[in-house]
């Protein structure tokens, strides 16, 4: 322990690839400055966002208008909730692909429980006001089932939720016969379409939930335990954290958040189609991961995930405003994600996992 000054540096070679082959620029990237910056790791996308805002304002004067930015936020709010859910699950060291199916299936089933047979429902005659709580319950139950399979049978979260992605969507298709549902209760449409204090309710709700998520993961024991579990489940267990219980809870919350995303999306679109949510999961992972949430668990923040969502939303908005031809849009879009990734890697200064 003699040379204390020198001892700051990590002893465990975190980036063996770089150090062992000793080649080129990689070691430089992985180098020290990352350490001091580590507190701002969740903000590595901020430069990207700034660039996008500048580029956007040059591309179209409409871009920076409050109306347009509000639209961006509203359009992203449902996706953002799923990203929030996935971020929680990823931080706890698990995985959930089935969230995208819940976005469509939970609202559909909840609505079918309350509407008449003629409108495509089961005709149970439940009060329409129950649709929203039922939807959340359905989402939570699917999450619980995922968690149960993973914990009880010690199955891989990736595979279980991959299968559940198909099963849950299959249930949606089967129950609705692939048809869209239109006869939605007023109460069910409300959250996704109302405007509160001049902003869409969806933005408020998403904003509040992100704030809650940040507070919980930043300042509450239960939230911090996700990091402990994702970082080293055995250690978390030894520290007295009820790992199984917390993991199950995270899946339940994740399912409920995805269901809420479904409610917002339904209110925004005015009906529930059989495709609602399909294909979201790629964007969800892209947002979470460029936002700094690690696929290996235990790392990342809710704020970071939010910046990921914003980047994705702004890119989409700019591409639309610019009128990029449809056939080239995907390429530009993917390219920008790739670049955002590299920027967040360079500014973040750490190898990703």
């Amino acid at each position: 322990m003699s040379d204390r000054q020198g001892r700051r540096a990590p002893t465990l070679p975190k980036t063996p690839a770089a150090s062992a082959n000793g080649s080129g620029p990689a070691p430089a990237l992985a180098a020290r400055p990352g350490f001091r910056l580590s507190r701002f790791r969740d903000l590595t996308l901020v430069p990207v966002i700034v660039v996008l805002l500048i580029v956007g304002s040059f591309i179209d004067p409409v871009f920076l208008t409050p109306g347009n930015l509000t639209n961006v936020l509203q359009q992203q709010s449902a996706l953002a909730l799923v990203v929030l859910a996935e971020a929680l699950i990823l931080i706890a060291g698990k995985f959930d692909l089935s969230l995208e199916s819940i976005v469509g299936m939970a609202p559909a089933v909840a609505v079918m429980l309350v509407i008449a047979t003629g409108d495509g429902g089961f005709g149970l005659g439940l009060p329409p006001g129950l649709a929203v709580p039922l939807c959340l319950v359905v989402g939570a139950l699917i999450g619980a089932f995922n968690g149960f399979l993973i914990l009880r049978f010690q199955l891989s979260a990736f595979v279980v939720t991959l299968a559940m992605l198909i099963v849950v969507h299959g249930l949606h298709l089967g129950l609705t016969g692939g048809k869209s549902l239109f006869a939605l209760p007023e109460s069910f449409m409300y959250l996704g379409s109302a405007v509160w204090f001049g902003l869409p309710a969806a933005i408020w709700i998403t904003g509040v939930l992100f704030a809650v998520g940040m507070a919980a993961l930043g300042y509450f024991r239960s939230g911090r335990s996700l990091y402990a579990i994702g970082g080293n489940a055995d250690a978390a267990r030894a520290a007295g954290i009820r790992v199984e219980r917390v993991v199950l809870a995270v899946f339940v919350v994740g399912g409920a958040l995805a269901a809420l995303a479904g409610i917002l999306e339904t209110g925004r679109l005015g009906s529930i189609s059989a495709n609602q949510g399909v294909g979201w999961i790629f964007m969800v992972f892209a947002a979470a991961v460029i936002g700094g949430v690690s696929m290996d668990g235990g790392k990342g923040t809710i704020l970071g995930a939010l910046t990921g969502v914003l980047v994705i939303g702004l890119v989409e908005n700019i591409l639309t405003l610019q009128g990029v031809p449809g056939e080239w849009k995907q390429l530009v879009y993917g390219g920008i994600i790739l670049i955002a990734l590299m920027i967040s890697r360079l500014t973040g200064g750490r190898a990703q996992d």
Binding site: M1, T11, G22, R221, G240
Partner: protein
């Protein structure tokens, strides 16, 4: 102090624990009196850590019962009750790398209230670290700490619970001399305050240093419990191994002055690690590298074998100059090595003993890039025999072996290609007495066969087989000590004291 001074602080009776067909504990138990520091000793796989996990409520015994101060142990689910009774430094690291040191210290008890006050927690952490003389930044990431610092953080955390019973499972395996000394001071303080401790270590002399009584486990059973005074070193080893102890005798060797130089290092530098290192190892010679924490010895050894790249300087192995920082070319030049951390760089747990041991010679086990499983098995069998590896056979995954045997597989890997230059780093970390002897013996055998060896270690016992020991301090070789040193001299040199 003691409410019921007659009741033992901890009592485990008739504990049996099975993992499938493995019986980790077989009707074993121990009793620790109030306020004593009790050693638990046994060979690798004797069941010590399993008992620890039972005593800390992480696992439920299949049979038997645990009592704390005469009361039955709380139910497994009641973690808080367990934590109030016992604190522990586990053998496996429980540090969470992505969290700060402060949070690791107060994990799951970041705050008494509802909302975490980070500043207050950092302050508490700083105070705690200070109290135990651990010099780390509480707001740094735990993942950035060295092995030793992590260990110190774990110890500080365990001590901070204020529990009256503390278990330390091989806390000294990763520490160097002064750090161990400080830990022992701390343990003596705690004992004076009436804290009961259970201490596990493979370093028997430590037992005599801090413990009052000792229990020996062997083959999952309780063998003997006694005061340390009544169980001298030889008897202790005999109890552990079931045979009469033979203290390891370093073999006498004479090195031919004209023997060829197999490893030569000239002017090697690595900024912040070591400076201007010159080193010559002849065939048949074993050169020790010693030095306290951060002396640069490990970094130097890792540079020689190509795991790291030195900033400047020349390494010559067997007449060849391998590409710096390139393991394959170092291996091709004739290096064999045992890395510092077997779990990290030593073996692939899912692959078999045979495959791990023969990995560097995979190209020589068949033609056209093919590997003949038969030849691999045959080669592995000879290695298993030579190193006396206890395994079902060459096809057993290394992950299923006990620590000492896994380490022997790593040694086998180092020796498999008949290296001209053998570099071994801390080869005996966490292995029991017998395994230690056979590991050191294999280094000597290799030297006998004409290899030159560099042995990096903090353990004086290990260094005894060396023909000379180079002592490093702050990245420089400050002393070249020939065979026949006394412990005191070497330790003093390592601490830089004799460096007038």
């Amino acid at each position: 102090m003691s409410t019921s001074s007659n009741a033992a602080a901890v009592e485990a009776r008739g504990i049996t624990k099975r993992f499938g067909p493995t019986v980790a504990l077989n009707d074993a138990g121990l009793t620790i009196k109030q306020g004593e520091t009790h050693a638990l000793i046994g060979r690798n796989g004797a069941g010590k850590s399993t008992l620890v996990s039972i005593l800390t409520g992480l696992q439920r015994p299949d049979a038997g019962e645990v009592r704390f101060a005469g009361e039955a142990a709380p139910p497994l689910a009641d973690r808080d009750a367990w934590k109030a009774r016992v604190a522990c430094v586990y053998q496996k690291s429980t540090i969470i790398p992505a969290l700060t040191v402060a949070e690791n210290l107060f994990i799951n008890r970041q705050t008494e209230g509802k909302v975490i006050n980070w500043r207050a927690m950092r302050a508490r952490a700083a105070a705690l670290l200070d109290q135990y003389h651990v010099d780390v930044d509480p707001s740094g990431l735990a993942g950035d700490l060295g092995v030793e610092q992590r260990q110190l953080v774990e110890i500080a955390r365990a001590l901070s619970f204020g529990a009256r019973f503390i278990i330390l499972d091989e806390p000294t395996a990763q520490l160097d001399g002064p750090a161990i000394g400080r830990l022992f001071d701390r343990m003596r303080d705690l004992r004076e305050q009436g804290v009961t401790m259970m201490f596990i270590s493979h370093h028997l002399e430590e037992v005599y240093e801090v413990c009052q009584s000792v229990t020996v486990f062997r083959d999952a059973r309780h063998i003997v419990t006694s005061t340390v005074a009544d169980l001298p070193h030889d008897a202790l080893v005999a109890a552990m191994t079931g045979e009469h102890a033979v203290t390891y005798e370093a073999k006498a060797r004479t090195i031919d002055a004209k023997a060829k130089v197999v490893l030569e290092v000239r002017g090697l530098n690595s900024a912040g690690r070591y400076h201007d290192i010159d080193l010559t190892v002849k065939a048949g010679e074993i050169v020790g590298l010693a030095g306290s924490g951060s002396s640069g010895k490990v970094g130097l050894a890792e540079s020689i074998v190509g795991l790291r790249r030195a900033d400047s300087g020349v390494i010559t192995i067997n007449g060849k100059r391998p590409k710096p920082g390139d393991v394959p070319s170092a291996l091709a030049a004739g290096v064999g090595f045992v890395p510092q951390d077997r779990h990290h760089e030593g073996f692939v747990p899912l692959l078999s003993v045979g495959e791990n041991a023969t990995m560097p010679i995979a190209g020589k086990l068949g033609r056209f890039g093919m590997i003949s499983p038969e030849r691999r098995r045959a080669r592995a069998r000879t290695m298993i025999q030579e190193l006396d590896i206890k395994t079902e056979g060459p096809d057993q995954p290394v992950g299923d072996l006990s620590g000492g045997n896994a380490q022997k597989v790593v040694m086998a890997r180092a020796l498999v290609d008949d290296p001209a230059a053998l570099v071994v780093i801390n080869p005996t970390a966490g292995v029991d007495v017998k395994a230690k002897q056979s590991l050191l013996g294999s280094v000597e055998d290799a030297a006998q066969r004409g290899a030159g060896a560099v042995l990096v270690s903090d353990e004086l016992d290990d260094l005894r087989i060396c023909d000379r020991v180079l002592v490093m301090f702050h990245g420089r070789v400050i002393k070249d000590v020939p065979r026949g040193w006394s412990d005191n001299d070497l330790v003093a040199a390592m601490e830089g004291v004799s460096h007038e």
